[in-house]
Amino acid sequence: MHRLAPADRPLALLILALAVIALLVLVGPVLIVLLTSFTTSQALRFPPPGLTLRWYAELFDPVRSAQIHKAAGNSLLVAFCTAVLSTAMATGAALAIARSRAGWARLAEGAFLAPLVLPGIAFGLAALMFFSWLRQPPSFALLVMGHAMIAAPFALRTVGASAAGLDPALLESSASLGASPWRTFRRVVLPLIMPGVASGGFLAFISSLDNVPVSLFLSSAETDMLPIRLWGMMETSLDVRVAAASGVLVAVAFLLLLLMDRAVGLVRRMAG
């Protein structure tokens, strides 16, 4: 570490203050939800008058929480399919973009990243109108497609970073040694961009799991999604199981993140 010049000190203090505020805003609510999920009261309330595991027991009760379980199952399945679909699309796009220096490649990259800035609500509404114009009733496939659109940019970022580091001479080597393009992809390209693919899949999975706006428009009774169900429960009764479910989600996401970081250094990849 080198010393800051005196003139830089106010700036450093400002950055520190912003960091502390960001941390409070991010971590504070999570802590509040976690604490609330252990409350002894009958409804969502903070601070909790006492602590109990009762709501977790109720959340995992197969009979009383059957609908939550069904929604959670749907959400996990959609998230899994979204992760696979969006990572596959993003991998293809990232490889093509990395290999091409042409202007269209930059354009295509921009188009792929556009959903990042597109408000989810607007996209969800547009997708619903578009699909009904095509006379397509809401279905599992359409829901996955909608989620994949939103999730693909995350995967494109991480796979793109991996693909950009791929030495083109490796591909030429492989071709020159007699490998087919498919063999080259399987034996050389995929193993080398695997860290990017895995982190992209993880991010897509998480982004699908807690997506509300697209699910709001594209899910139906059969494809009831967990965040929508939790929202509904919040509206009708301040059911504490919502907090418990949030606690479970936070814990699962955190564990997955630790696992992924172990495996591929996700945090470093996102920073780069």
Partner: protein, 385 residues
């Protein structure tokens, strides 16, 4: 993979054929480049190159950076489709074949080893891609690694190998598929100078044993000199001369070749007279010399003389002769048994190379003479560029 030690130093698959016991290299394949032109957008990178590489020989493509060597090599390898011209192996055009079906092995400047595979897996890659039986793959990988003396490093990843070792593995990988033609793109550029000579000899030895026809791209004239049977000197996408290294040095075809291969002292002058088969040339530095030349010159024509450092000698400042001219010695550097003189004659700077006898002479006025035995190259002055 279990990999028993193998004592035999014979090559690859040829161990079990009687021919492999003979020291003579197997007959190689012939490579022809015929009128090849490659353009990137508006810029012509290779401008009508016609070259032949004889079976089993090493041809060096020598030239400054950006003259189109790599582009030409990549055209032969099949990564670039030329705008015009053909590539032929043993007389058969291969332009329509993809890189993997051309029988061409390539060693990249960066080696381009697969970083997630061991040395053995790298070498096995081409054989597996060709669907060779597993037993044969194992046998050939062992033989190829043994040929480059890397059998002890089979399980290592490229990251755990030195630059020279990586290069050997890259060479083994290219040779394992038994290519008709071996292409080497500046294979020593990333290595220490000290390591280069060893590896140059080694690659030449291996190339000879495999009897593989090779094209070596380099911008290093010493490398081309030491490794190549013949060299093609390139400039701006064209070939200026193709000859044995010694011929290129002794009889450069153009002033550019004279300057690029070896050191060249450029002296301008005018043809004064014909004297039998020779020319009397009046040099602008103030001397009159008699020169032989295979080229024809008219009396009165402006000419450019390219003299090697060893073609010139220092004389005493007082020893005035018509074949010598006045100059000033700036410095003499003893280089082991030799002396390098840095001399200026008017605006012309000269480098001289002489055997050393005793102490180097002191700086000051001298005369420079063209040795009577020297055969410097003579060009029309218009060739100077």
């Amino acid at each position: 993979m279990a990999r028993p030690l193998q004592n035999s130093a014979h090559m690859l698959d040829r161990t079990d054929t009687p021919a492999a016991l003979a020291p003579a290299a197997p007959a190689g394949h012939r490579l022809d480049m015929d009128g090849i032109r490659v353009r990137y957008g508006q810029a012509t990178a290779v401008d009508g190159v016609t070259l032949s590489v004889e079976p089993g020989e090493i041809l060096a493509l020598l030239g400054p950076s950006g003259c189109g060597k790599t582009t030409l090599l990549r055209t032969v390898a099949g990564f670039i489709r030329p705008e015009a011209g053909r590539v032929l192996v043993d007389g058969a055009p291969i332009g329509h074949l993809p890189p993997g079906k051309r029988g061409v092995g390539i060693v990249f400047q960066s080696y381009a080893l697969f970083p997630h595979m061991s040395a053995a897996e790298n070498v096995a890659y081409g054989l597996e891609a060709r669907g060779r039986p597993k037993a044969e793959v194992i046998r050939r990988v062992e033989a190829a690694l043994a040929a480059v003396r890397m059998e002890g490093f089979a399980a290592r990843r490229p990251r755990a190998l030195s630059g020279g070792q990586q290069q050997r593995v890259a060479l083994a990988r290219a040779l394992a598929i038994e290519p008709a033609i071996l292409l080497l793109d500046e294979p020593f550029a990333a290595l220490d100078r000290a390591l280069r000579l060893d590896l140059q000899l080694e690659i030449k030895r291996i190339q000879r044993r495999f009897g593989v026809t090779a094209v070596l791209v380099t911008h290093d004239q010493d490398e081309a000199m030491s490794m190549a049977d013949r060299m093609a000197v390139m400039r701006g996408g064209r070939v200026e001369q193709v000859d044995a290294p010694a011929t290129v040095y002794d009889s450069p075809a153009t002033p550019f070749v004279a300057g690029f291969v070896g050191t060249s002292n450029r002296l301008h002058g005018r043809v004064e007279a014909r004297e039998g088969a020779d020319y009397r040339v009046r040099l602008d530095v103030g001397a009159s010399v008699i020169l032989a030349s295979p080229r024809g010159f008219a009396v009165g024509e402006r000419v450019l003389l390219c003299a090697r450092p060893e073609h010139l000698a220092l004389r005493d400042a007082t020893a005035e002769t018509p074949e010598s001219w006045p100059a000033r010695l700036r410095i003499s550097l003893p280089l082991g048994p030799a002396l390098v003189h840095d001399v200026e004659a008017g605006a012309t700077e000269l480098k001289l190379h002489e055997a050393r006898h005793g102490q180097p002479p002191a700086p000051g006025p001298v005369r420079v003479a063209l040795l009577p035995t020297a055969r410097p190259a003579l060009f029309p002055a218009g060739d100077d560029a």
